[in-house]
Amino acid sequence: MKLAYYPGCTLHGTAREYDASTKAVCKAAGIDLVEIDDWNCCGALEAIFDKELSMGLSARNNFKAQKTGLDLVIPCSICSHNLSRADMAMKNDPSFRKKIEKALGEEYKGVKLKHLLDIIVNDIGTDVISKKFVKSLKGIRAVAYYGCLLVRPSEVSKFDNPENPMSLDNLIKATGADCLPFTRKTKCCGGNLLMSKQEYAFLLTKKLFDEAKAVGSNCIVVACPMCHMLLDGQQAMIGKAHNTVIDMPVLYFTQLIGLGMGLSEKDLELDKNMVSTAKLIESIGKAEVSE
């Protein structure tokens, strides 16, 4: 399988371990990724409320993907939402389409684009990918955190249930790890409140940690760099704001399945997560210690 690849800004920065683990896992799964040429920012959450600007910026990347003649894969949930929404508008909104075709001097024919998780669980299939799992991850007790834009709105993201998705849960279980029930799996981490009301963002993320701990998990698995920025990158700050130490490793799903595929910690850049993953890695293959 050969796919055009849009990493987006964070995967070249704060989410570099998602980029590295995506490439490592795709290589092991026989997916050839071709990074699209000279891609630009999708407008992220900062332009998401300025609909036409967000869609216009995103559309340029779809034009770039169109040139490759390949389907497009996007690991970031925000980029994936923005580029999908732009693709829909280019097809359904003639006045918007006219503006962007004029700006770029090209005709848009459309591109098939999907989130990386969708490609892994549906196009390849959880049952097929699990044949590549050579090492059981028993000892890891995860909760699957989907967040918002990976599954919502369902008119844009169509591959799983918008409120109770199971695809990531099933993928985690296929590695031999436990995946525990998590009622807040699609409740917002507050990422977009970080710059408008930080204490609310921290409070929403804190609720995720509280439930993850209450159900007895030893890590949270995500598929979005913004969720990861809050849960992993800001975890120390959130702990400090709430007078506690959270100490909860947060893995990208590619890092988790990469471990199952027997890929090295270096290839998966497990040392780049802000919260140490060392204890979690040690727990693999060990029986649960009663407290």
Binding site: G13, R16, C41, F49, G233
Partner: protein, 189 residues
């Protein structure tokens, strides 16, 4: 008390003309948006239904100057559940667009820091094609928290830098002229 003489009955039409605001008039006030809202869960005074209701009544200035419009987390729960397909998340975006224009014209003041960050971010994308994390975050901290406040974030910046996650300089794409043309096209009505 709401004075009918102070209402602007055109406000709902103004919103519905903005991209994303088209469906506001479909709202039949069922409260489904508010029941599922994660922000309402932690702050009972945050009420998306009330933002819509006030907008439909024409309480223009009150809505545009309400800090609530900057507290939507864009999680799309209400968008997903709305039985009338109001597309509430995008309606909030339409209201924000009007508020930003009014603030630029000097007619209202926005206290929330979110637009400061968004504008810095969007400006960095306008000139580079990608967002310049170190520059945007640093400038935002200085502007909103002052030198002392910004220093508080230095350890986190340093930790990110040490892990190779933060670039000191911006990355500029080749097609910045195309980005400029997109900005120009979407700003025309």
């Amino acid at each position: 008390m709401i004075k009918s003489s102070e209402l602007d009955p055109n406000f709902k039409y103004e919103i519905s003309k903005e991209p994303g605001g088209e469906n506001i008039k479909k709202c039949f006030n069922c409260t489904g948006c508010t029941v599922g809202c994660p922000v309402t869960e932690i702050d009972k005074s945050y009420n998306p239904r009330m933002i819509l209701r006030k907008s439909l009544l024409g309480m223009r200035k009150e809505v545009l100057t309400d800090d609530s419009i900057w507290l939507c987390a864009s999680c799309y729960i209400c968008f997903e559940r709305c039985p009338q397909d109001v597309k509430i998340t995008e309606v909030v975006g339409a209201i924000r667009a009007i508020a930003l224009r009014e603030a630029r014209a000097g007619n209202i003041k926005i206290k929330n820091t979110k637009p400061v960050f968004d504008n810095l971010f969007i400006d960095s994308v306008r000139s580079n094609g990608r967002w310049y994390e170190a520059g945007v975050s640093g400038t935002f901290m200085l502007k909103t928290k002052g030198v002392g406040g910004a220093i508080g974030y230095a350890p986190m910046g340093l930790a990110l830098f040490k892990k190779g996650k933060l670039s000191i300089l911006p990355h500029k794409i080749k097609g910045t002229d195309e980005i400029k043309r997109i900005f120009e096209e979407v700003s025309t009505k």
